[in-house]
Symmetry: C2
Subunit: 476 residues, 2 copies
């Protein structure tokens, strides 16, 4: 393990820029009641689900109700060179929304209309404030669904900004693969469209993918065209216990390698199974567990399931349980759904520091085993779940928020984990994004050359550095 060179970046650099009264007055004149400077509103918009608490809130919040509102707010902010932070559902995890350089928040949650559903083309166009659950509710009658599930009921705009994914990504991809086109407002307040509804294109630079994952640092997403999918004819779920993490991971690798189009494959480690048993009064076998889901035709699902059961048996997998009805599936997946709450409940008053490293799956067992040994040795309680089909997993370090030494220890564990993942050709963040918390890690991962390219792009597209400044990388 290397020395934790990156811990300096874990505490954000707070350097608010002045927000002139004239800007607030201009926003109030333009937006009336859509602009708030009430402290409660500002505070709500000055935090996310990260553990940062020390950053002052934005000076004002504009509740945009359409693209023109966003454009006008950005033009005013640009005139005054004041930072702008887009806000969707507030569910980001790495400090993305914090006003480290001051400025205003543009809340797009009122831009929450599904603008069009094209069932023949399997596409939908939505405003950025639509949440993923709302979207699935609204398109249910078409027999189609949007598969990306990051856990939280995040907004589509926020999921676009962080390149989100989740449990279904092993089959359906991430936001990278599922955003077809965007409308964005640039730093200067121009409205630009990227991409088309065509499924593929070689027409110039891939601006769509440049904005996906840019965490609000290049512009504000005001419309998103997404791929959607036919609801599978049949769905089958299973849980299976394994004698070791390695056996579970080896089963996953062989499943992927055989081309089984598994829709979900989640790992829960033995420690977390114990927490879930205690929390949900279950008696799951206290061994590492895979939770799986198969989508397809009835015959196809059956075939996939048999194939995986055979692979699992070869690795000592046992206590297979199957479910086909929605109710049975929900029951089987209880362990996964409750793992976060079970973990939190296992240590009253704790907060979880979550990681989301992702490695090539051949390296997954090594990465997990070494990291589990390290956290076990540290004495910090934790949970461990993973989207193992993608090589992506989450440790949650359960710390006493009032104990700086524990927090520091957890950050060091996280750092060691990330260093290991990078050494194994992986990434510091599979799905949460960089925000503030991983800026140091990104330097370790991407290297100076790539960071310089990112800086050059940022400076070119946002010369006044007003779009969510101080996130992803420093401008040096």
């Amino acid at each position: 393990m290397n020395a934790p060179t990156s811990l300096a970046h874990v505490r954000p650099e707070i350097a608010p820029r002045p927000v002139p009264e004239a800007l607030i007055a201009a926003l109030q004149a333009r937006f009336g009641a859509q602009c708030s400077t009430a402290m409660a509103v500002r505070e709500q918009h000055g935090r996310d689900e990260s553990s940062y608490t020390e950053v002052p809130p934005p000076a004002a919040v504009v509740f945009a109700e359409g693209t023109q509102d966003v454009a006008d707010a950005l033009k005013l902010a640009s005139q005054h060179e004041v930072p702008v932070i887009p806000f969707g559902a507030g569910s980001s995890l790495e400090g993305h929304l914090l006003a480290v350089q001051g400025g205003i928040s543009i809340d797009v949650s009122r831009m929450n209309r599904v603008l069009s559903v094209n069932a023949d083309d399997l596409t939908v166009t939505v405003q950025p404030g639509v949440t993923r659950k709302q979207l699935n509710e609204e398109i249910k009658s078409t027999g189609l669904f949007f598969p990306i599930d990051p856990g939280a009921d995040a907004s589509i705009g926020g999921m676009t900004a962080t390149r989100a994914s989740g449990t279904n990504a092993v089959r359906y991809g991430t936001m990278r693969e599922n955003v077809l086109a965007l409308e964005v407002v640039t730093a200067s307040g121009e409205v630009v469209r990227t991409g088309t509804r065509a499924k593929k294109s070689s027409a110039g630079y891939d601006l769509t993918r440049l904005f996906v994952g840019s965490e609000g640092t290049l512009g504000v997403v005001t419309e998103v065209t997404l791929r959607i999918y036919p609801l599978p004819e049949a769905v089958s779920a299973a849980i299976c216990s394994f004698p070791s993490i390695e056996a579970a991971v080896r089963t996953t690798i062989e499943t992927i390698q055989l081309g089984v189009p598994i829709a979900r494959v989640e790992l829960i480690d033995v420690n977390t199974v114990r927490m879930v048993n205690a929390y949900s009064k279950l008696s799951l076998r206290e061994e590492p567990m895979l939770l799986m889901e198969f989508h397809g035709s009835p015959a196809g699902v059956k075939e996939q399931a048999e194939t995986v059961q055979e692979i699992a048996s070869g690795h000592g997998g046992n206590a297979f349980e199957w479910a086909s009805t929605p109710e049975e599936r929900t029951r089987l997946w209880t362990a996964r759904h409750n793992s976060f709450f079970a973990a939190i409940a296992s240590r009253p008053g704790c907060r979880a520091i979550s990681t989301d490293t992702c490695v090539p799956i051949s390296r997954l067992a090594d990465c997990l085993l070494d990291s589990v040994a390290e956290v076990d040795a540290s004495g910090i309680p934790y949970f461990l779940v993973g989207h193992v089909g993608d090589g992506n997993f989450h440790f949650g370090y359960l710390i006493d928020p009032d104990d700086p030494a524990e927090r520091e220890k957890a950050e060091q564990l996280n750092h060691a984990l990330v260093a290991r993942a990078i050494a194994l050709e992986g990434t510091c963040t599979g799905e949460h994004g960089v925000g503030l918390h991983k800026m140091g890690f990104l330097v370790d991962e991407a290297g100076a050359g790539a960071i310089d390219l990112m800086r050059t792009i940022k400076r070119a597209l946002d010369p006044k550095n007003i779009m969510n400044p101080g996130k992803i990388f420093s401008l040096g």
Copy 2:
């Protein structure tokens, strides 16, 4: 049909910049026999498969044998502010390789090693000069394959640069989805890595996707990490005739909409079927035809095939023919494989001007029917084939290369087709790229705002405008 506003861009603007003798001398000193100024070599590197003939060749060709060669050549070119055009297999179609602003060619075809195969992770890392057929030959023994098939035996570097796809994209995606990571040499000669071997990541700007499809205008690709796939356990192919293009397209839409994971679905129009019958002495039913391929387990393939057969029957599909062995499949697919040659042979001495518009599949029948009517009325012979599962299709206008009026007429047909595709929410290029030929179309499609973003990025990453200048968009 709008007036063809974009035809001005069809003829390239040729404005060679001076190539100082000092640069040639420096290249010769550094590269010795790896640098050629022989006219035959320069001419071979000054053209591609487009119909442009009037552009003078590059002043010199450097045969790079490794990343350092590319970096050194770029540093020298940058010092002298001389354009650099990367060259792979020379199979691009839109004038991508032409030295419209003079400069030197960097040929990467000697960088043709498969650097690593990671079967567990389903990834491979290759040098840019590896061709797709070579790659599949080299990994055959692993039971894995690389599915992207643009027709030509293109280089992986070139396929990356044009965001190529082809017949398998409906199932396996395009280069956009299948490039995981890159090594690139930037315009200033820096070597930068983008991405990792992790299957997904939220770590900063998506530099990988920015370089994919950038047609050599932002840097030279020197290493590519790709996703590869398990060879399907079973493959089944079929052809089926339909009473109309609309019936064939409707069959395709329903197949996709039902979630059938069809691996290939190609349309051949009746006109092209006739050409193939004449060329290959076949007696295929003279009706529009779909050619299909299914990948999966034996039972899965059978089920997919039955589902599609049922859908096709509902649309008057008949004369279904099936094939499971490689030999039978090759025979069935003869019509598709020979369509280009059959078309060329149908008019001795002709050249084909190919299009590759792509629309949402719900718009495909409209787009095709109107375009067929237009070309029929024009009297210009043509062929029509399409990757219809993606809404992507190719008209080939068979023109007499010595008849400027015919060429002009074909360009006008192409322009009308692109205008129609854009109006139907599609793209001017599904897979060939913009090059010189579609610069005007890209403006029509993307709009001034998006083009301005592309220009801003280009200026920032290549301030001397030396990377394949004059392609994709003008710097205005």
